[in-house]
């Protein structure tokens, strides 16, 4: 089985859960003997880089960075996985409308998506040649560094890669890759699976970006099968995007085991300070509910003194949250670390007495699994997909800050609670592995291919 996989990020260049998920899933697929060609935009050097030297879990060098060229990287751990990157976003842009028009033309030419045809190749080549010329030509005039153009640019390049590749199924992760998925499917006639890690409603609440919604909707409708990361997400797909339930399968994410299951909290015993640490780790953005974390923190601090609240991550609400903490008069009790990677993540987990994920809307949420992996007890919002799979964690409605504070205090105050949560949680999380997710994806592929 060969899969043409379209992703937006891949470790070590990640900004969140999507890259982690793609890495875990492809690694497990590799173990199942599934051949994966993974297409990512060229690594983005952004402000997300950390001052701390990052060690890649794969011990591989950062992906190639020669502008304008497609680079194929072989990774030792992923023998069956080929990573292909596409030119950098910080180069010339042509208007998104241009790509959109081209993709639509392609679609019109090939109304029957399921039948491959080779006449298309010259047409695609012609289009791509035109694209390249346009890029050259417009390089200086249009420097529109917006996501939307990038998405369509990615789509065009993915099609070019796809026509030279041999594969059975296309697998696209999240909206940025859906146009590419649709385009590749229309060109090659291969079935398309879209994997929904998050929807526009999770990211933006009711104030959705219509363009992104349209891309998501088009991708979902064009797909042969949709994989949702939870039933929570499946419901959104069905009710908000008008998809039939039978088309949507749920495949829960997993978590990679940290080494040989060594227990980290023993290090913590050595910590001299008697201060407890409550951890928020994630993007500081509306979706993740950082303000509810602060409100709960204030309530906790009314009852206990020796607690610090650590917020690890960056995001569009970062400044507002810092200000909010100051206004609440708890600024000295809330620490901001910025975006953390690799060893720093491990360190912060080692220090934490409790991990809190107060997400307003979380399609899945891998971070709680990582926390459990590091033997940290977990408090998650009931509005998260991961709440469907975890039983040995504390759950709370994200808006119920009183109850959130009540539970945070209980964990800090009653050692038997921390002990039991840790013991059972760590045991439970061991059953949630990427291998299970990869097997389920494989079944989805097999079902589609049988039908065709």
């Amino acid at each position: 089985m060969k899969v043409f996989m379209l992703g937006w990020e891949f470790p070590p260049y990640i900004s969140g859960g999507l890259g982690t998920a793609c890495h875990g899933l492809t690694k497990a697929m590799n173990d199942l003997g599934i051949e994966v060609t993974f297409v990512v935009p060229k690594p983005i050097e952004s402000d997300l880089s950390n001052h701390v030297k990052m060690l890649s879990p794969l011990q591989c060098r950062p992906l190639g960075s020669v502008p304008g060229k497609k680079i194929t990287t072989e990774l030792p751990d992923l023998r069956n996985v080929t990573i292909k990157t596409i030119a950098s976003p910080l180069e010339a842009y042509i208007t998104p409308q241009y790509y959109e028009k081209k993709i639509e033309e392609l679609l019109k030419q090939r109304p029957n998506v399921s039948e491959p045809s080779h006449d298309i190749e010259p047409a695609v080549e012609k289009w791509l040649r035109e694209t390249e010329e346009q890029v050259e030509h417009l390089a200086h005039e249009h420097y529109g560094g917006d996501m939307y153009s990038e998405v369509h640019r990615y789509a065009a390049s993915a099609v070019r890669l796809a026509i030279r590749e041999d594969f059975d199924v296309i697998h696209a992760h999240d909206w940025m890759t859906y146009p590419a998925g649709v385009a590749v499917a229309s060109v090659t006639g291969k079935p398309l699976v879209v994997h929904v890690h998050s929807t526009e409603f999770d990211r933006s609440g009711e104030h959705i970006n219509q363009m992104i919604y349209d891309i998501e909707r088009r991708g979902m409708h064009a797909a042969t099968k949709i994989i949702a990361v939870s039933y929570l997400t499946r419901n959104i797909i069905i009710t908000r995007y008008g998809i039939l339930g039978e088309k949507v399968e749920v495949v829960y994410n997993g978590v990679e085991q940290n080494g040989d299951g060594r227990t980290l909290p023993f290090n913590k015993i050595g910590i001299q300070s008697n201060e407890k640490i409550v951890l928020f780790l994630g993007r500081i953005t509306m979706q993740k509910g950082p303000e509810y974390f602060l409100m709960a923190a204030r309530k906790v601090l009314e009852e206990m003194e020796n607690v610090k609240f650590v917020m690890a991550g960056t995001g569009d609400m970062m400044h507002r949250i810092i200000e909010m903490a100051a206004q609440m008069g708890i600024g000295h009790k809330v620490l901001f670390t910025g975006f953390l990677r690799g060893n720093d993540v491990e360190k912060i987990y080692q220090m934490a007495d409790l991990y809190v994920m107060p997400s307003v809307s979380e399609p899945f949420g891998i971070a709680p699994l990582e926390a459990l992996n590091y033997d940290v007890p977990v408090l998650i919002s009931k509005q998260s997909g991961v709440a469907e799979v975890l039983t040995h964690v504390l759950k709370v409605d994200f808006w119920d800050v009183n109850e959130m504070a009540n539970k945070i205090i209980a964990v800090l105050k009653y050692p038997p609670l921390q002990l039991t949560l840790r013991e059972h949680g760590n045991f439970e999380v061991r059953s949630l592995r990427w291998s299970g997710a990869a097997e389920k994806c494989q079944k989805v592929y097999q079902k589609i291919l049988q039908k065709n």
Partner: protein, 404 residues
């Protein structure tokens, strides 16, 4: 020869209300929930069952006998929330065919933690039964049939009990049958009545199970199983939760009609009879010694304490409760004592059980909390408030006579 001995356990805990660390009121119990559950179960189970059994006793002219273990906690609830149940128990008592069993008033695990408190609760329960039904219990059962040799010593010393009821667990019986009267080692005055768990569970758990090869269970089929024991046993001890009738097994499973026909079917054979536990121990001698050095119970397949003491939260919470016993008693404050004792009810610790939690089963069904962790947090917050009351009393100058 087999005498069928029915014993029904009747109990509902006083459930705690949602109590956060920010609550400071000394009202801990969820009046609304407790009242509504008590009334619901009364209508589904206690009232119809009592009426049915009363009817059978009258119909069979006293040849049908039963026994009850009513906890002090459920009797308080009946008096408070549905007094009509009390009158049906009065009517049952008047037939002379009903025996009341002794146990701890609060359905507690005090035997494991405090001998003084354990005896105090048994006495409190006995007083209540005497007052309500004019009987002094002669047979004792410990909460959840928790038992070991050590229990016998304590009970024997109390002087008024002649028998203890416990689980007929395979590992204490070996190849012996539960259908005889036994006695504990080194004990003259106490006999043991062991639950026939196979026949008891046929009614309590398997009755409505369509996957069971004996489904559907009819009265004459069950009577045949009992009759078959002729010559192989003296008594058949059918011990179960009273909520089996109408609550665990709903009315539409036919459980009531089964129970209304079962006594007459059993009595069809002239050698069969019904006896109360006291009658059984008066009629039959102990055939052998049963040695139980380690604690057993009637819970789950393990028949051990793991449902109440299986994780650090449970043992921690229990430990904390009994740690303040002395302080609570020193206050001589009735309200504090009552609150503290209500917290001893075993159900609070059962809710904290993490065993099988992920699978969702019988533990979940009876659990008013979303998770064992929530129940622990709630319980500890309440206990914290009790401790706070103790502290504030201690810091207050107290009149001399209370201290003495």
């Amino acid at each position: 020869m087999p005498s069928v001995c029915f014993y029904f356990q009747v109990h509902q805990p006083f459930r705690l209300r949602h109590y956060t660390v920010f609550d400071h009121s000394p009202r801990y119990f969820d009046e609304f929930k407790n009242a509504s559950i008590c009334r619901k179960v009364a209508n589904k189970c206690y009232l119809p069952s009592n009426r049915l059994l009363l009817d059978v006793i009258r119909r069979l002219e006293g040849r049908f006998k039963i026994s009850y273990s009513l906890t002090g906690v459920i009797l308080e609830q009946f008096r408070k929330y549905c007094p009509e149940v009390m009158s049906t128990f009065d009517a049952l008592t008047e037939t002379g065919c009903v025996e009341f069993i002794g146990e701890t008033y609060y359905h507690s695990l005090s035997f494991l933690y405090s001998p003084d408190e354990f005896i105090a609760q048994i006495n409190k329960h006995t007083e209540l039964i005497q007052q309500l039904y004019g009987q002094t219990p002669r047979v004792f059962r410990n909460t959840e049939l928790i038992y070991s040799n050590a229990l016998t010593k304590t009970i024997e010393k109390m002087g008024r009990f002649n028998a203890i009821i416990t689980e007929g667990a395979d590992h204490i019986l070996g190849n012996r049958s539960s259908n005889f009267v036994y006695r504990p080692p080194n004990c003259e005055h106490i006999k043991l009545l062991l639950k026939n768990y196979s026949l008891s569970d046929d009614i309590a758990f398997r009755f409505s199970n369509r996957g069971w090869k004996e489904f559907p269970l009819t009265a004459d089929k069950f009577a045949k199983w009992v009759t078959r024991l002729n010559g192989n046993g003296h008594c058949v001890n059918l011990f179960m939760d009273y909520e089996t009738f109408g609550e665990h097994q709903w009315e539409d499973t036919g459980i009531f009609s089964f129970m209304s026909h079962l006594p007459q079917e059993i009595l069809k054979h002239p050698d069969n009879s019904f006896m109360t536990p006291s009658e059984v121990i008066d009629s039959y001698d102990a055939v052998d010694v049963i040695d139980v050095p380690h604690i057993i119970s009637w819970a789950d397949t393990e028949r051990d304490l793991s449902a109440w003491l299986g994780n650090p939260m449970q043992s921690g919470a229990l430990h904390e409760v009994y740690k303040i016993e002395k302080l609570v008693k020193q206050t001589n404050n009735e309200e504090l004592l009552a609150d503290w004792r209500q917290l001893q009810t075993s159900d609070h610790f059962y809710y904290m059980c993490t065993k099988y939690f992920a699978d969702g089963d019988v533990h979940k069904y009876f659990n008013p909390y979303e998770s064992p962790y929530d129940s622990y947090i709630n319980f500890m917050n309440v206990l914290d408030n009790v401790r706070g009351r103790l502290r504030s009393r201690r810091n207050r100058p107290q009149p001399r006579k209370i201290l003495a």
